[in-house]
Amino acid sequence: MAMSETMAAREGGARGKPRFSSDLPQMLIGFVLIAITGFVPSILGNSYWVHTFQLVNIYIAASVFQNFLFVDAGQKSFGQGVLLGLGAYVTAIFFGLHDWPFLLAALAGLGAATAGGLLFAFPALRVQYFHLGFVTLSAAIVFPQLLMSLDKWTNGINGISVSMPGLHQEWFLGLSPLTLMIAVYPMIALAIHYAIRRSRLGRDMRVAALSPEAARSLGIRPGVMRFIAFIIAAIGTGVCGILYLPAVSFVSPQGFNVELSFVFFFAVVVGGRGQMLGPIIGIWIVFILPNIALAQFVEYRLLIYGLLTLLTVILFPDGIVGSIERWRARRGVTGRGEQAFRVDRFLETLEGGRETRPGDEVVVEVRGGTKKFGEVVAVDAVDLKVRRGEIHGLIGANGSGKTSLLNVLSGLSRLNAGSFLIKGEDATRRSADRIADMGIGRTFQTPRIFPQFSLWDNLRLGIDARVGDGSADIARLADALEAEFAQDSAELLSHGQRRLVEVMRAVLKEADIIFFDEPAAGLSQGERANFAKLVRFLARRMGKTIILVEHDLELVWDIADTITVMEQGRVVASGSPEAMSNDPAVQHMFVGGRRA
């Protein structure tokens, strides 16, 4: 505990800000709890508790992977017990029935669990959410049926007993190799979860789970993220199965029915979804309470699982650890008001560049682009050319096809006819993530800011999405931002500040073409002026090409080099702001001032 506190203080930074994430201290507390339950019974020589906590700690490890899958990858699996069962059963078959060496049999078990994970992972490439809930649940139902009916290989209802005296032999202090392995493995599982969460892979997965389209615009493929998550969880849970075999010395179909999968799922919910300590507290409550503490009511255990889970969802949906964490976070929250996120100071560090003007090279070109939604033609044979370094305003009434065109250009939807080129390359049939990797950044009408991440991690998604090495300037900017915002929450940011975070994300991505979807909507007058300054800075100082969909005509006329006017899916006029002011097609938009 003392260690975790000092580390907490160190991570909190010199200004003594409360840490944004409690993952690290939670993990360290988790290590202590697992070590106590894993080692103390052996040291005291109580074989009943040794055995009980071996099983508990194996289940904790399995729940850690369930937790990872549940929150970090956003996937609800009701079939993790199958993967544990595959690991245990296949190891038992090769070790117990075919006399393979244990390690080789364990490898086969791990392979089987991974193969089982593929069954979940392949559909995950295409679909998510409740679809996968049903796939995993049906696997949990089918698995014990198969163990029974494939009795030629599995011994059917009789199960398989194994004897592994070597692993149970005491080494020192009453500890056997098995006890050591089973106590260390959940700690490894926690450490893996923590490491993934702090890695780029973990952030990508989480963004994919929270907002698939934001993920795709950052070059992330959500299906692939789900696939990888299921495979990681399958391997991690398969190892639990391998440890289960020597711990229990026996496998039978009844040991791996749906109930087992439910225990892991419910434990994560009751303990606290996404919390590092959640699986530990969850298994202690969900598994130990009915099976050990209330052992005389063991036939009521399913009822207890169900009721505990239902009460948790209704009364404190964050679970036990999550509720404590929420209370801690609320006490520690230090909002910095309107000015919490300002970028001017940071951009000044980039101020060296000289003023650039739009070039002649066309970097975005649409040729006869048509996009239909059923009968509605949202974009109708549009031609558009955007030059490098230009600020290109796209205006028109609601429903005139501006955002549809932007979505086509960023790959979120596909043209029905026509084509478009980005930097001379045909991108018509490219997916959003591949277009993002061509150096495109975008913002959304509702900024995609993730309160689960610290403010810095929200910005860092841009660096994660960058293709190739970044420039030294941006690296310096990133360091400054990290020092300032690593422990800040993004939850209290105003709408305007969230918009700025998204813009900075695109800057850190070093996107050279940026699409803005109604960026000024909801900004205050002051924020609007700052935003105009920022866009000009991006184009003139950093040489970025900007396509701006906007209703605020004053802003557009103020900053745009070229303006394209759309009406009912068609381009009706295009040219410089001065020319557009006099164009009859545009005149009517100015009735009652320069606002549409």
């Binding site: 609800k76 679809h131 049906s138 139902i141 198969l146 009916s149 399913l302």
Partner: protein
Amino acid sequence: MLAEILIIAVRGCAIGSIFALIAMSFNIVHGATGILNFAQGNMFVLGGFAAFFLANEAGVAWWLLMLPVAGILVAVLVTVQGWITLAPLRSSVEQDSWLISTVAFSTIIAALLMITQGPFAYTVQGPVPSFRILGVRTPGAYALAIGAMFFWYFALRIFLRHTFLGLAISALSQDFDAARAAGLPVRRLQLLAFAISGLIIGTAGFLVAPVISVASDAGLRYVLNGFVAAVVGGIGSNLGTLIGGPLVGIIGMLTAYRIGGAYQDLASLLLLVAILMLRPQGLFGRSSARRV
């Protein structure tokens, strides 16, 4: 050979009609709330239990009287469940809580059935005698299953397209926020959708009790096969369930006859995975409804 094909076709279609009924009960709740109620399999089994306790070996008149009673009992239960499931959604931004709570409900019902009724399957005698199709004896409940499927398909079609309440529920499935903005009592319509889904599966469970497994642990198998039927047809499409249900039923029967009864659920699982990989929006689903 011909007899076998006939048996597979008739029984497959009949069992498949049950899956189609469960799929329709999914659809109406999903359309109105976005929720897929995992507890619906157990609610269906409760309809079977209702047949055992209210009308086992009863005469036709009593049995007919008890049919709506069973439907209403299950409908009330599903509505209460729906109310509890929707309650946390009122405030919480996160919408997965229904997934957890409906699974928890499913577990609780199964556990209560297990504690009070034991682990064994009940046998229910219905009043409709078995009949012969081309010499193959067929339980009467099979005909009832197919009849119930068509009855509920047309009843839902008329209700959803030609009554004010039905149109209001359809509006929810089109655009939730717009329906709220238009002043529709969203929460009450959602509860009504839950009630209708309960009425469908309650009556279905009651009618087909003689040919299903009326047991505490049977619910999950039915909910899964019902879901596969819904996915095959396209979630949200009742017309799709008329194809999806019998297809799942026939594949299950074929598996049972050719490979073994123990592999029926495996066949459904593989069918589900195949459909999700190849055509996730199902046969009749709108591709825009797909969330990938």
